[in-house]
Symmetry: D2
Subunit: 353 residues, 4 copies
């Protein structure tokens, strides 16, 4: 077992731990030298032992923690410093205020606090937002882009998997004004865990195996407004990319191939690369690569691998950025732990390398 | 065994049958009611029994045909009406003239006769073209687009896998002048058989399994000039798309997701769909779909599934076309058989449905 | 389309066509030169268009046939000569008698008529058998072993996928009395289609992908009694093998590795092989192999590949037999078509090579 | 980065780090709180940067360590306390004596010191053993079975992947004399990494993907004598099991399904389970399961999951044991680290949970 420093460990509760993000939170927190898992809660009617849900955790979780418990705010507040919410949207915003009121920090992995525009949230998720007060306070947690917001934050909206990769891939180009913003195309592909743990006909093994295709309403995926919000914030003006997700026949991993038009037709590939070096030098979880990244090299890690290229077709040029991450780690639970580290001012890489 | 019509069967030889396209040619010709496999030749030093190369063929190929033979033009000319070339480029153009001179029809699955511009061929494939006479005569075989060239043709250049899907996906938009041609993006993904049968480190199972990434020199794949040639021919002017291929962790299947800018910002999705209906109504191997196509639904068939969408991002619109095919069938051996059918004026679907 | 002989085609109905075996029946019958699909019926409340269930069939099924119809015995009797039942057990025995009474031949792919011992059926499937009269008449359809029962049979019980491979693998050893029968071990592995088309947590892609393990009550799979029945029939006395199935992370394919003790410790491998040659020489769908067979080489075909070895450990010897088949073809729909061919005295390979 | 205890860290060198076991050693040692990677050596002519071989390691290995170095015994002795050998057999026994003479502890992942019978080694590996002196001293490192041999050992032969699972699965039955030993059948299946990192035709992605079959000379795999040696040592007499390996279409994971005959026909399943509890209670890396284990639940971990069942067929009974492990972790590099921990008397689980 990794040994703690002399400091007291950060005590973590997970509310909603029976999905894939919950599993990965447990897995990561068990490895974290400065954190301790103290409370696992489920909102299911019958409380499962997490080792039955995830036989992988057998031998790693002791009896007391493995038995999930009912959501009891007082008990959680007593036993934890931070609560991770692995709940569906709508459920998250029902619990977050109570946890915050009880003095806990909250890191929400649902979509409930990601879109700062309440009306947009309500349109995209087709529900009323019940907690506008905290929505206004929530911090959007991509440390590489918005690190200064994190220390001491009380509520972190943990970004979606696709938006994390897209934001990291496009931010350097926007912040250096290297590309036009009217016609950004994000061609994305994700492993099946991104669709959650509930069986569905299209995710039945013989249907999803050895298959590949786009899915959802083309251009209408719920992550598009979240991506647009982040790119707009960085660009300083409205940016609305085209986002087309595809389903890969793998468990984990996202690859985004992003096409952009350079502002200056005489831009060089070196200038593009410099923008990325400038943005990410010293970042422990962003790796700039010469070769196009592959999901194989990031799965199981908190890395986001990026590569940028300038291509020429006849008279025109196109910037191509590739971004690869593990949708479960940098795209969800790993980033959540990274955010916890930043909030509590621990070493940001603790438990993640 | 499927029974022939009263007509004499077309006798087919395969020169170069030990790769994946060769295997699929054998498989398809064995099922063809109007064709007969009469000669299998390999240019290997030691002539293999094809049933050892492909245990799948055991019990389907009889002893006489299964033993591959040396390339003997006289013997081939005596035993066959048509020769399929499943050879590497450069080798194909060494054999094709002799087969043509011996009176055979030739369907070449290599790249040697695909690019009508000799200089471009020599640049892309980095070899001198030895057979410019036949290059000038070769017919590029996508029946859905260039059917009238096929009946009676003596030499058919069978298109590449990526170019077939790209051409079928973009042709209706170009021929109806619905899209701009400066900035066409073809995001493509292929199964591993597309890379051939020779083991390589990057295609070793533990490297390619559960992996996904772009490959090759971005924008520099050899299929780009072939795609550009076809799109230019249809558009009537030079078109140079950006082509970015990715490797999927599956055996077979190509999916292309193609992004184009509409000419008229007020174009409707119905107008786009109408162009596809207009182009492909009655085509037995092109299926127009409402949902985005999936490689799962075309693998093992000669179908190319297409779907077109109009998307809106802020003030701009983007046309998205999806194309799915089996890289080994419609993208190689199936189309070669379809071309044979067209050349010999058989039912174009014979042996393919 | 393959052309029929001058003879009238056998008209086939499929009752229960929305599962995987139904799909493969449709696929095979569409390729069959001597059969015609005339009626597709579903017992669902809402009748689907089969091309929506299986986009693969789009462009292959015309409108009239593609729309599944209610089960209407009179209509079926008018439009078909044979009915394939792709229904769950219990449902099959409700419909079979009516179809038989209406004069149709019936090929049942469920378990309802496989176990000739009614009490055993009722114990294993935990339901009362409603049709003992036809149960007594049903023919168990493995043509290679029981061919003489098939011509003119009115009701064929199409065997289970595991039992087909097991029976073909062990029959030659039993009929030549080469092995002891007390301690036969059948270690089996199947692709996921064997578990059907309904989504379940354990078959959700991220759970079944890259996974491998035994399943079910060890030694208690429902196919065990069916295997035991066939081996006992061949041996002439009670044989009860140990059957342990595992789930492979593939769509299709069964491999069985079977361990047996030779009767005579001095038996040679040649004698074992001779028994297989003797049993299967001339059989179009059984291939004897020197190398252990692989599911890769049988998937998509009606072949069962077999290999037999004699091994020595210290003082003892063990016979090992390997059997590979496609659980959907030789293990289900392909064998059903083979049985149809045998019943109607067509070429047994028609539509299957 | 996990923080060390106050104690000095164990300094580790890896000689031969460019294969899959080398990669996993690096990965595990980088996570180990009590160890430090100090020297990476390759016996290749051109010394690679390990981050080029394994892009996964980029951002985790610093420049100094990542550049592999020539094998320089003096330099290694100065910089390390222990050397892991990730070399092919024959190469390992050329280097081990020099490293031992230089005062290092050696943990050899090759087969060179696994078989204590020199003549047997020479027969199985078809080379002369060059280092009989150390062969006699080498300790066979399965801590759960032979823990007392490890503290202070100078040379550890790290077991093969298949033998580790087999030994852990059968040991409790042998040590409690619960089974006969004449006719033990080990039906095994492994992921493709077990075959190493060199491309071969049979491991080319399109050949190994969605495939499953036995491989090698049936009953003649090189791991059989190693398994026999361990089982014989535990039983106290010669045991020679039948071992039949199969290749799974996955990267990692071994599942063994083992069939044994009980000594006492009246033995109960509880007695069998008690033997396992007795053997492994308190073992951190052996998990006893009720359900059959699945490779999915052990991949990426140092666990070996075991399950034992008693089955009845007619009059006879068969014991079935299932064992699952990650061939790269408990079957290779994880067990090597566990052995290092035991040799240096660290917490045996350090770096492995």
């Amino acid at each position: 077992m990794t040994t703690a420093s002399d400091n007291v460990k950060t005590r973590a509760a997970i509310i909603g731990c029976t999905g894939y993000t919950g599993y990965h939170l447990v897995d990561l927190l068990l490895r974290h030298p400065g954190a301790e898992l103290t409370y696992l809660a489920s909102h299911r009617a019958v409380l499962p032992d997490l080792r039955d849900e995830f036989p992988q955790l057998s031998g790693r979780l002791d009896d007391e923690v493995a038995q999930t418990r009912p959501i009891d705010f007082e008990a959680i507040a007593e036993s934890a410093d931070v609560a991770f919410l692995g709940l569906p949207h709508k459920a998250a915003m029902a619990y977050a205020p109570k946890l915050l009121d009880a003095g806990l920090r909250v890191i929400d992995l649902s979509a409930d606090y990601r879109l700062s525009d309440q009306a947009l949230y309500e349109e995209v998720y087709d529900v009323k937002h019940d907690d506008p007060r905290n929505l206004a306070e929530a911090v959007y947690g991509i440390p590489e882009l918005f690190r200064k917001d994190l220390p001491g934050a009380t509520l972190v909206a943990n970004p979606g998997c696709y938006p994390t990769a897209a934001a990291l891939a496009v931010a350097p180009l926007l912040s250096h004004s290297l590309v036009k913003t009217e016609r950004i195309v994000i061609n994305a592909a994700s492993g099946v865990t991104g669709a959650g743990k509930s069986p569905k006909p299209s995710l039945h093994f013989p249907e999803a195996n050895q298959a590949f295709g786009a899915y959802g309403v083309i251009g209408g995926h719920r992550h598009q407004p979240e991506i647009a919000q982040t790119l707009s914030r960085i660009a300083g003006h409205e940016v609305s990319p085209l986002f087309v997700p595809h389903l890969l026949p793998v468990d984990r991993g996202i690859l985004e191939t992003i096409y952009l038009e350079p502002h200056d037709p005489d831009v060089t590939e070196e200038e593009l690369i410099d923008a990325f070096v400038d943005a990410y030098a010293g970042e422990p979880f962003v790796r700039l690569r010469e070769s196009p990244p592959n999901i194989k090299h990031v799965v199981g890690t908190n890395f986001c691998d990026l590569s940028v290229r300038l291509t020429t077709q006849g008279d025109v040029k196109t910037v191509v950025v590739f971004a690869a991450e593990d949708n479960m780690i940098k795209g969800a639970s790993g980033q959540a732990v990274q955010n916890m580290n930043a909030v509590f001012e621990l070493d940001e890489t603790a438990g993640l390398l």
